[in-house]
Symmetry: C2
Subunit: 369 residues, 2 copies
């Protein structure tokens, strides 16, 4: 498909709702040579999106439309999907809402439901509206497709082509599995950020002057559009409540762990093991998050070199590491309390570790086996 | 003070504990021409810091030392501060721990306490150890100084000079106020991140594949050293527990708000107002966080221009805004449902708003008053 093909040959798509997501999809598909028609309840939004290259505001012939992408707010999704199924008799209809069960439940029993397949591109920015649109918003992002038992295989294919034209990676999931997963990895973290940010409204200015980058990280997503999130959380309330109740239990246990750690026992010591276990478990949790582009988080391998007790040895050690040109991701110093010697631990990619160890040993360093 | 002065004239400082913070302080002071002596229970750490330019591992004459900076883990702080007061008879002693009351309470009654003034530089990275040290770690960061009622004015001055030599901005606070403030802006957000990250350990791989940048933001600080945080949270447990209990109440109310929003009332509608209020309150909270370098978060002002209903008008509008060369921070489209017209809202710095409005009006646009 490219821009030189005649209008009749081009994939014809209607994007309904040209906020950030809809206008970005329109821009990506227009760049791929698709014929994109834009619709929005706010005519000026569609015009802005057209000006920015997301498609045309012209009305297509309904029977020529092959695909409809519904990108309206969650509360309006089911109604607009239903109307689209009835307006465009040969089109596959998808939506890009972040909760999938509610639309399907509402439309269950509709005679054209086989042409509807939900989907969910995992992308966004803190900005909203068509002026924030970018054709590359979905590049390398996950785009979940959620077929149901009445979906036409051809409709699933059409939505897969859409996601791929936007340069996204597709994942097929069951509707309920999807909603439970986003409750866990998106909606719950959002609410934890909301609780943290809401608590800031109770503080004095002087307290806030001590805020560091950690606070900004934790509260960033809480700055998102409350109207949109109200709808997302309401649409996915059962799954969200289940996660929140688990976290309420966790919070109670955390409070208990800190109380225990604060109490001085009869032997004069404190027992902070429960607190430490919770902190360590959180570190384990952060390591489970896949890296960018869906790659698993890289586990670096450590090459540990003994630091000899001679003047200038460490400077020479650093110089030798530099010279070998291996990409060292992290450097730390370990220490053997009993032997009173130090070790330089070099974190490198697993496939580079053996080579680095051999070459350092070849230069006379004692490398830990 | 500069490097050309004789050894006798240079400020002589001992840094005890050369992890990230201690070694960074040593590097900053060395660059300012101070004579820095490094000590660490792990001799190899002091050697690494020396190699990286943070100072010298030579032992100074105790009576020549003017300032001692204690940068050891929280649990060891009070003991090391006490020993420093007794070892260096003329030195001001400060520590850089993130909780201030415990050290003071432990040492209260010590006859040399007037030479001790606590402090807390608000800086750090996710890395630790001397190899992560940077002389500019404190540049433009807040460095809290917490005098007590027995502090010598000269000791407060000495700690102020230390912070300024590291290029930090100093703030004077009462010890208990400091500890309550960091419980709110640092320790509580850390624990919210810990709860969120800990919850990830209960999820399947497939769920985690849907993780986006929001989850990474919220959980980033939970990846920090559990051993260090165990000590910080235990040292500040009273203030931390008070915040956690408030958040537990907030969480209960949030659960209630989502339950209310999920229930369909007898009139067939849902009442999501309580949920929406909580989400809106969180947005207000995020806006209270001061910007970088301690500046208040900038409130932009909007210049709103009507989008005429003529072909190409919007493109011309964008072109005119570009030509005027005003720094536009955000652009959004507003819409008047009744009049069916659109507006382009341009967010600009408050001092640029009136000029932009006048110049757009001068070019024939209708600018909202």
């Amino acid at each position: 498909m490219n821009a030189n093909q005649s209008a009749e040959e081009r994939s014809r798509v209607v994007v309904i709702g040209v906020g950030l997501i809809g206008a970005s999809i329109g821009s990506a598909l227009t760049q791929q040579g698709w014929a994109v028609h834009l619709r929005d309840a706010k005519v000026s939004h569609a015009r802005v999106a057209e000006t920015l290259g997301a498609g045309s505001v012209e009305t297509p012939s309904a029977s020529a439309v092959e695909l409809v992408v519904v990108a309206v707010p969650p509360r309006a999704l089911a109604g607009v999907v239903r109307t689209a199924l009835e307006t465009y008799p040969y089109a596959t209809v998808t939506d890009v809402g972040s909760v999938k069960a509610e639309v399907l439940d509402t439309l269950w029993g509709h005679r054209e439901l086989h042409r509807y397949v939900g989907s969910h591109p995992m992308a966004g920015t803190q900005h909203s509206g068509p002026t924030a649109a970018r054709a590359d918003l979905f590049a390398d992002r996950t785009w979940v497709i959620t077929p149901h038992r009445r979906s036409d295989p051809a409709a699933i294919d059409a939505v897969t082509r859409l996601a791929r034209a936007c340069d996204a990676r597709t994942v097929i999931m069951d509707v309920d599995e999807h909603d439970a997963a986003v409750a866990r990895v998106s909606h719950l973290p959002h609410l934890m950020s909301v609780l943290t940010a809401g608590h800031l409204t109770t503080m004095g200015e002087q307290d806030l002057a001590l805020a560091g980058p950690g606070l900004r990280d934790v509260t960033r997503v809480a700055g998102s559009d409350p109207g949109l999130w109200e709808q997302i959380l309401t649409a996915n309330s059962a799954a969200v409540l289940s996660e929140l109740r688990q976290v309420r239990d966790d919070l109670g246990q955390l409070i208990g762990a800190i109380e225990d750690g604060a109490a001085i026992r009869s032997d004069g010591h404190r027992d902070t093991r429960a607190l430490r276990d919770r902190l360590a478990r959180a570190v384990t949790g952060t390591r489970r998050i896949p890296g960018k582009h869906g790659a698993p988080a890289v586990a670096y391998q450590q090459v540990v070199v003994e630091i000899p007790d001679t003047p200038g040895a460490l400077a020479k050690l650093f110089a030798d590491v530099d010279e070998l040109g291996v990409n060292v991701e992290d450097v730390s110093i370990d220490h053997d309390q009993n032997r009173q010697v130090g070790y330089l631990a070099l974190a490198v990619a697993p496939d580079a570790a053996a080579g680095l160890a051999a070459r350092m040993a070849g230069r006379g360093w004692f490398v830990q086996p």
